[in-house]
Structures are given as C-alpha cells and as structure tokens.
C-alpha cells in the first residue's frame, strides 16, 4: 500500500502541539498568551505573570542553557537584553547553526521549544526574535518535508502553527484586500474631470491574503498556506529584521525555485554554500502555489529594491534568487509570476544602468549673487 508514508509523520503529537488539540472543529485557537503558560519550558517556569524585562531575562536564561557556547556579550552589554537577542550576531549564528543541524526540527528539540515558548510570551520584542528565524525555519521545513527519508519536523511545525494561530486571531476572519484605484474617481492625489460615478461600487477589490481558518496541525494540503502566512508576518516586520535573515530567505527561495543556472553563474555560486551538504539545486525544488509565492515575491522585492543600496551581498543573493524564480516561472508558464518577477529583474537592471542625477544638489555657478 502506497499511502501510508506521506501523511504519517506530520501529525505525530508532541508537547508543543497539544494545546490546540482538535483541529478544525475548534472554533478558534486560544489566544497566544494562554498557550504560553501551559507549555513545558523548564527554565522559564520561575516567571509567572510578570512584566516584560523579566520575561526577556527568563527567555535569555533558558536560551543560554540550549546554546553550545553561552554568549559572552549578554551580561556585559549595556543594551536591553531583548535588543541584544535580536541583534547579536553571535547568538543569531549559534541559533542558526543549531536550526540547520540535520536532526533539528523534531518535537522534542529544545531550541524549537524555546522559539515556540518565546513567541507565546506575547512580548512583542521577543516575538520579533522568533520572526527573525522564520525564513530559516520555513526554508528548512519545506525543503525537508518532501525528502524521501522523512524525519520528524513537529518542532518546526509547532512554531509555524503558533505564528499562524497568532495571525488568525489578529485578522479575525477578515481577508487582506486591496481596492485597486481607478483614476476616473478623484483621489487625494489627483482630481478627476469626469463626472463622479457612484462611489466605490465599480472598484476592483483584490484579495491579497484570504481569511484564515484555524488549524491545529499542519495538514499537508494547508502546508503552503501556513508557511505563507508565517512569511507574511515576517514581511510585516521586515524593516527591523537583520540582513542575515533576509539572506537566509534568498538562499532558500533560490533552492525552492530549483532551476538550473546558466554556466557562468555556477562559479559565483560555489563559494558561498559551505553549510549545506546537499545543496544540489534540484533537491530543494518545491511546488510554489500562489499562497506561498505571493508573500515570497513581496519579501524578494524588499531584498532587491528596498533597504540600503550598500547591502551588496543581499542584493546579489536576491538577484540570484530572482533569476532562478524567473526561470521557474517560465518553467511553470505562470503568467502572473512571469510578470512580477520579470519586472523585478528589469528594475534592477535599470537601477544599475541608471546614472542617477541628484536633483536636490544646487547648480555650481561661477557667479555667486544675492
């Protein structure tokens, strides 16, 4: 019988997944705050219902027991601990390498539990720390889940579900929509000469992200949606995210696209993949339904055209990912993706060719007069 394998592993019940037990029949997941108290972190138990600094301190302490080498900067740094957690390259790289470990992501993985608990602390600054690792977690999860030798990934799933549940509550059954403007209606930025038609009835309303159903487990047909929502959440805070997390994202997007690069691209590719052993381009290819691709495109747009122009490494990696994605869009003959990704590529090219004039500079004149 062929069907036993694909669905056997994701639903293996583990501690973090217990709380929202019945999946679709429960009307709504309990709010995040209540989940955090029931979860089973050992180090954080001393805090009951305390203010943020204590929560942060507790989170830090429990993290120190998980990391291989306790970070030195924590005790000495004058900055607030949450800020240190978010910005310290030492801690981030340790967490990243733990996450990237081949056996990470199981339900009893301490780091996954820590991330899960930390997100549920309902402290915004701590939640940012979890969001910072969303690209890495989504990337590892989606890449590993389709591998032949399946490994337990309930730890990753628990974190992603926590983010999803948070967003489900926040959106309160409303989709995210965009009312596409129509220039025949006047707007705050322009006047319209044509007679006013009846208000907004004939405007196009586009659904960017449909309303969310609560899920207690990752059902495989909803997997892309759940990860997509986590990425939407990441994008909503992307301007405070570290460049490394964006680099992680671009790396995985490149893998997900899974298309061959041209020969001359291979060389530059070789020098920057020392951590993943099996980074064969074709291995990481996954299906990219719009619910996953949409948020990815927004993040990619930010990496390529938002942020600072000086972030060369990010721009370069994002450009590579973009090219892979364009190839993939052509492979899938997906018109929407071809349009969106193609325009990003052309914009970057224009950006490079453009010799920008600074119009805020004054004319240098020979005669200076009053």
């Amino acid at each position: 019988m062929s069907t036993s394998s694909p669905n056997s592993h994701p639903s293996s019940p583990t501690t973090p997944q217990k709380s929202p037990s019945s999946t679709t029949s429960s009307p709504k997941n309990p709010p995040p705050a209540s989940i955090s108290t029931s979860s089973s972190s050992t180090a954080a138990t001393t805090t009951t219902n305390t203010s943020s600094p204590t929560k942060v301190q507790a989170a830090l302490e429990s993290l120190t027991s998980i990391l291989p080498t306790p970070p030195s900067s924590l005790s000495t740094s004058p900055s607030p601990p949450a800020f240190v957690l978010l910005t310290s390259p030492e801690i981030s790289s340790q967490i990243s390498s733990l996450l990237r470990h081949p056996t990470s992501g199981s339900g009893d993985n301490h780091l996954c539990r820590w991330l899960y608990d930390t997100f549920h602390s309902s402290d915004p600054s701590l939640q940012l720390i979890v969001l910072r690792f969303v690209p890495l977690i989504s990337g590892l999860y989606l890449t590993r889940i389709t591998r032949r030798n399946r490994q337990p990934l309930a730890g990753f799933e628990a974190i992603l579900l926590a983010l999803y549940a948070h967003e489900t509550t926040a959106r309160n059954n409303h989709p995210i929509t965009v009312t596409v403007p129509d220039l025949s209606h006047p707007s705050i930025y322009h006047e319209s000469s044509s007679p006013q038609r009846n208000n907004s009835t004939d405007l196009n309303i586009a659904v960017i992200s449909s309303s969310l159903e609560p899920h207690g487990t990752v059902r495989s047909t909803r997997r892309a949606r759940i990860v997509g929502v986590a990425l939407e959440l990441f994008f909503s805070k992307i301007w405070v995210m570290s460049i490394e997390s964006k680099l992680d994202f671009c790396e995985f997007l490149d893998q997900w696209a899974g298309t061959h690069h041209n020969k001359n691209d291979e060389n530059e590719h070789d020098n920057n993949n020392d951590y993943e052993i099996d980074q064969d381009c074709n291995k990481g290819r996954i299906l990219l339904p719009w619910e996953l691709l949409g948020p990815c495109l927004r993040i990619l747009g930010h990496c390529m055209l938002g942020g600072e122009k000086e972030e060369l490494l990010l721009r370069e990696k994002a450009y590579r990912a973009c090219k892979s994605l364009y190839n993939r869009a052509t492979h899938d003959v997906n018109p929407k993706a071809i349009l969106a990704v193609g325009s990003l590529l052309r914009l970057v090219k224009m950006d490079k060719e453009l010799d920008e004039v600074d119009y805020t500079e004054i004319h240098n004149t020979r005669v200076i007069s009053i």
Partner: protein
C-alpha cells in the same frame, strides 16, 4: 534687481574663468576671500565682502556659505552658516507678509512684497545649504530639521500655497529642492514615519512644483511604499475630501501614485519613465489584478513601448486573468513571422493556452514544436517545458480526432513527449501528475499508479488532486478498500471546506462496495458541512469561483440524488434534484439524473426529453448521449441508425466510455452485424476491467 541673475541663465559660462561674487552692481573675485576662509578668518572675509559689495551681514554670510559649499568644503560652509541667526532673520520678514489678507478675487499678497520675498529666498537658500552640508556630514536628523524649517517658513509666508506666477525663481528652486530633499533625509536617517509624512506633505500641499519634480517625488514615494516593508498609516483626515479615493494601505497608495504617473506621461506632462510601468506591473501582479494592468498597458501612447513587448506583456496579463482568447490573439500577432517568431516564452504561453482547448490543440502543437527548436539552441533548460506543452497539446488533440488510428497515434506521441520531458525535468511534480493522468486515460493503469504515487511522494501529499487520482486509479483496479484508505488519508490532510470532493468520492466507493447505508451516512456529514459553511460564510452562491476552497452545495445534492437513484429511491431522488436545481437551474448533470429517474419510473418520454435537453445544453456531455442512444436503441429498428450515430459520437468524445461500447454493440447486434457487435462487446468488457468510479479527468 541688478546682478540677480538666476543661476540657470549663467550655466553656460560656468566652469570657465574665476568665480566671482556679484551684488548691487558690483562684482568681486572670490580668490582673495577663499584664501581668508582657508585661514579660518570668516569674519575678515565677511567684512571685506560687505564693504566690497555693500551688503548686510546675512547677505554676506549667505554668499560666503554658498561659496564654501560650492568648493566642496561643507564643514566650512556649516561654520559660516552657523554664524547667522537664521531663525531671527526669518522672523523679521515673516509677519509683514503673513498677515496680509487676500485682495479681491486673486488672493496673492506676494505681488507687493517682492523685496521680502527675495530676502526670504536668500535666507532659505542658506538654511537649505546648511541642511545639505549636514547631510553630507552624515548628521541626518539635524539636516532633516533644517530642511523642515525651510518648508515651515515657506508655509507661513505663503498661507494659501505658492502661486503659479510672480514668485521669485530662485526661491521656487530652493522650495522645490527642499520639498524633494526632506523625505530622503528622513529615509536615510531611518525615521520611516517622518519620511512618509514628508512625502505626503510634499504631495498634498501646494508647493508649485514643476511636473518633473512632482513626478520624481511621487515615484520615490511609490517605491518606498512598495519595497521598504514599512506599513504606512492612512493619510490624516484633514486631507480627505468627500467622495475621493483614499488609499488604506501601502499597495493601494503605491498603485494610485504609479497610475497617476502613467496618466501624466500619457498627457505629455512628463517624460516616459519605463521603471514606472515595471513597478506597477509588480504591484498589480502581486494583487493578481493583471486585467487592470492590461488596461494600463493599453493606455500607454504608441511609440513609447516596443509593440511586440507590449503584445507579449498584454498576453501575459490576459492569460493571468484567464482571458485566454485575448491572450492568444495577441500572441499570434507577436509570433508572426515578421515580428518575433522565436520568442520562447511567448511560444510556451501560446502552447499552454492552446492545450486547454481541444479545438486549438493542433495550433498549440505547432507552437510547442517551434519552442522545442528554439530551446535546443538557446535555452536548453526550457526544452523540457516545451516537450511537456507538446504532450499536453497532443493529448488534448485526441479529443477531436476523427479516427481511431489518429487518436491512438496522437496518444502515443503525447506520452512519448511527456516521458521525454521527464528526462529533462525529473524533479517537476506537475509533470508526474500529468503523466499519471495521461496513462490512466490510456488505461495503462500500472504506469498511472506508479506516477501517481511518485507525485504524492514528491509533493508530500500537499495537492488534493494527487490523492483523488490515486484513489480513482485504485478504484479502476477494483481495489476499493485501498482506495478507501487513500481517501481517508487525504481527508486527514485537508481542511474541512476542501473535503467535499473527497467525501463524495468516498460515498461512491461505499456504493461500489455495496454499502449504501455508509454512503448515505457520508452524505449526511456532507450536508452538515454545508450547513456549517453557510453559518460561517453566509449563503454561498453557486458561482464557479466559489468552488475552489468551499464545499459545493450543488454537487452535494446532485451526488445524493445519484446515490438514491442507484438505490432506486425515486422519491428521494426527486427531492434532491429539486434542491440541486434551485442552486443551478440549467445543468446537464441534473438533467442526466432526472432522465435516469424517469426511466426508472417507466416514463420513457420524459426521460427522452431530459436526455435531449441535456445534450442540447451541452453537446459534449457524453453520459446523456450514451443513455439517449441506449434508449433509442430499444425503440425498434427505425431508431437504430440514430442511436448508432449518437453512440459513435459519444465514443469520439470519450473513447473509453464502457457503456457507449456496450450499447453500440447492442445496436450492431439488433441490426444483425454480429462481428461488429462482438468487437464492441469485447471493448466494453475490456474497459470494464479498468473502469474508475469517476472519469480520470474529473480530478483536473
């Protein structure tokens, strides 16, 4: 005023000759003053300038500051500017202008205040240059503060906005530059909210900006909104005019600004900027609003875009909005021999569109073959895609092929192309599914089973179609319990609103296993689901879009009607059909079931009418053709030719219809063509061995 030339007019003589100061009819070389400044003697330089050109303190400082700034010595410029109490200078001329009430119809108090306007211009330029100097020194927040004070002052002087006419050119230039600089400064300083506020202030207040400058700010703001990731709060209530469109989020605001920019260009107010269209393409594709994008592309004046580029972009837009006919027409133009016949992407898109329509499939084969030729020299990696499209088109072409021979050769070719495509793209799950369906339709069930399993493996079971296909293939092998297991596994992997098709299939499997009560139980659950769905979403109209992720109520009633009809519970069938018909009035499927019901009750005439209506409604609806043929075949020898025609036609549309073969066999037998009849019966019995509970293509 003598000597007050605008900087623009002296452009042509710059770079040559020595710099000089000019004021009040006198001029003075700068070299001597530069030396003094270099020694740090600002005051000496200032006083000799005041004497030489008879200037006051502020004027002399402003000139010296500008000199230092032009020399690239921004720190020096800053020192010079810091010597002036700029705020006090501003205060001096402010009230005299500010409290002037508007005269007559034209509220333009400035016309009588030329001198203060000029003085203000000089001071504002000094503050502006101070801001620029600070920017160059990396003191961004301070720079923004200075820049902002320029704008605050201007707003106080011109309380009704800057008029189009009668404003000092140099003052206007400073104002425009300050308006443009402020948001950039906040952006560089990392103060996103201030940057957004500054952009809106630039665009919503009257600064009398020229078109190009305004367009630059609009574009920069749109880019910031699209890519920065900072969610802007909605514009303040004060700027909202009744009845006008107010953007509520970043995407809306960015799209609005970009559309305005394109409109401006179409009106000839600004130069064409290709990046604006690209940004809009990105934004509208993200919203899946490619049909709106198509309209924008059509608005662009001829001559600005390459026409072939425009055709292809429009084709992509239409295809993205599922307007395939328009898309294909545009692609035909762009792929014409005189235009760009080797555009690989266009060829692939054309082939894909054609592959969805049997009557276009032959045309699609042509595009796919051209794509294969193009791909082999240029982009090898797309050859797999081209082969895949070829396979699709050939497979689709079989639906309209006129002879058995042609059909089987097309089918063979289709499979060959798909298999070849797989050698290029072994990692493409979609291809696995397509192969599985193609083999299943060919009744090569073992191969189909293999590919269906591979597909589920490769996708981690994330695609519903895969599960359904696997269950159908197993059902065609009469392995009902295993199919049942697959369906149960799939139910575990789907959210409840998507379970409709799975549950209906489950009920069908129960019937085939002679467990009608279980089947009815399943339907009871489905109906409960429909109820729950109604509660949480409100009544769902039976529109084709709503089918995607909701339980389709029509299908549920129809399925239940079919279930009762298989049990010959005609009363219940009638009730269910009524429900179904109230959701979708005209449907070949309901007429089909209705016909069976009449036939079951012995109402042959009514049954005939139902079947005929169904065929009239959808000439390609095979089941009714078969039943109509079967019914006619029982009506005596006169009707036999008609029956035979109908059944042959049904077989042309669906060569694997077991019933059609069977009844055709009956017709042949009744007509006395025994060998023909035997062949038909043979075909029917062979097909019966591999008959799925639903047609394989129903998963698509």
């Amino acid at each position: 005023m003598p000597g007050s030339q605008s900087p623009v007019s002296s452009d042509h003589e710059e770079e040559t000759g020595e710099r000089e100061f000019r004021a009040n009819g006198n001029s003075m070389k700068t070299a001597e003053l530069e030396a003094k400044l270099d020694e740090g003697n600002i005051q000496e330089a200032e006083s000799s300038l005041r004497e030489g050109l008879s200037l006051n303190f502020e004027e002399a400082r402003a000139l010296l500051g500008r000199l230092e700034y032009q020399r690239g010595n921004v720190e020096g410029a800053l020192r010079v500017f810091e010597g002036i109490d700029l705020q006090a200078a501003i205060q001096r001329f402010q009230p005299s202008v500010g409290d002037k009430p508007s005269k007559k119809g034209r509220p333009r108090p400035e016309s009588v205040n030329n001198v203060p306007q000029h003085a203000a211009g000089l001071v504002l330029e000094a503050i502006y240059l101070k801001a620029k100097s600070l920017q160059k020194l990396g003191r961004l927040t301070e720079a923004a503060g200075e820049c902002k004070s320029v704008l605050d002052t201007v707003e106080k002087i011109f309380q009704h906005g800057i008029p189009d006419l009668q404003v000092d050119g140099r003052l206007q230039e400073t104002v425009s530059q300050a308006v443009e600089l402020l948001p950039e400064l906040w952006k560089q300083a990392g103060s996103h909210d201030e940057a957004i506020a500054a952009y809106r202030r630039a665009l919503l207040s009257q600064w009398n900006l020229d078109n190009e400058c305004c367009a630059r700010i609009q574009k920069k703001f749109a880019v910031f909104l699209l890519y920065s990731g900072v969610e802007a709060a909605a514009p303040s209530l004060s700027v909202q005019i009744d009845g006008s469109y107010i953007p509520r989020n970043n995407l809306e605001e960015a799209i609005l600004l970009l559309m305005i920019l394109i409109r401006k260009c179409a009106l000839g107010k600004t130069k064409w900027d290709p990046s604006v269209m690209e940004h809009l393409t990105f934004a509208l594709s993200l919203c899946s609003q490619t049909s709106v994008l198509a309209r924008q592309l059509e608005e662009v004046m001829p001559g600005t875009l390459n026409r072939i580029d425009r055709w292809v972009a429009l084709a992509l837009c239409h295809s993205g909005a599922r307007e395939n006919k328009e898309a294909l027409n545009l692609l035909r133009k762009s792929l014409h021999a005189n235009e760009r016949p080797d555009d690989l992407m266009a060829l692939l898109l054309a082939a894909k569109i054609c592959s969805e329509d049997p009557f276009l499939a032959a045309e699609g084969v042509g595009y796919a073959r051209r794509a294969i030729t193009c791909a082999s020299d240029d982009e090898e990696h797309l050859k797999g895609v081209a082969l895949r499209m070829l396979g699709h088109c050939l497979g689709r072409q079989t639906k309209v092929s006129s002879s058995d021979y042609e059909r089987s050769s097309l089918q063979g070719e289709a499979l060959k192309s798909l298999e070849e495509a797989l050698s290029f793209e072994s990692n493409n799950p979609d291809l696995l599914l397509e192969l599985a369906i193609q083999y299943a339709e060919n009744r090569n069930v073992n191969a189909a089973l293999r590919y269906a399993k591979q597909f589920i493996d490769a996708t981690g079971g994330s695609v519903l179609k895969g599960w359904r296909l696997l269950a159908l293939i197993l059902s065609s092998q009469k392995r009902y319990p295993e199919a049942q297991v697959v369906i149960d596994a799939a139910l575990d992997e789907t959210a409840k609103w998507e379970q409709g098709p799975l549950l209906r299939m489950k009920a069908k499997l129960k019937i085939f296993q002679s467990l009608p009560m279980d089947a009815i139980e399943t339907y009871r659950y489905l109906l409960a689901l429909v109820q729950a769905q109604r509660k949480s979403f409100g009544p769902v109209k039976a529109s084709p879009q709503a089918d995607d992720d909701k339980v389709n109520e029509f299908e549920v009633w129809l399925g239940l009607a079919n279930l009762y009809s298989s049990l010959s519970h005609w009363k219940d069938v009638e009730v269910c059909l009524e429900k179904a018909q109230s959701l979708r009035q005209f449907s070949a499927e309901t007429l089909h079931t209705e016909g069976i019901m009449y036939e079951g009750r012995g109402l042959v005439k009514e049954a005939l009418a139902s079947y005929t209506n169904a065929v009239l409604l959808d000439p390609n609806y095979v089941p009714c053709k078969v039943l109509l043929g079967a019914l006619l075949s029982k009506m005596g020898s006169q009707a036999l030719p008609v029956a035979r025609n109908l059944l042959s036609d049904a077989l042309r549309l669906e060569p694997t219809s077991r019933n059609a073969w069977y009844y055709l066999g009956m017709v042949h037998r009744d007509d006395g063509r025994n060998s023909d009849a035997a062949e038909c019966f043979q075909a029917a019995s062979m097909l019966e061995e591999s008959d799925p509970i639903e047609s394989f293509t129903s998963v698509l």
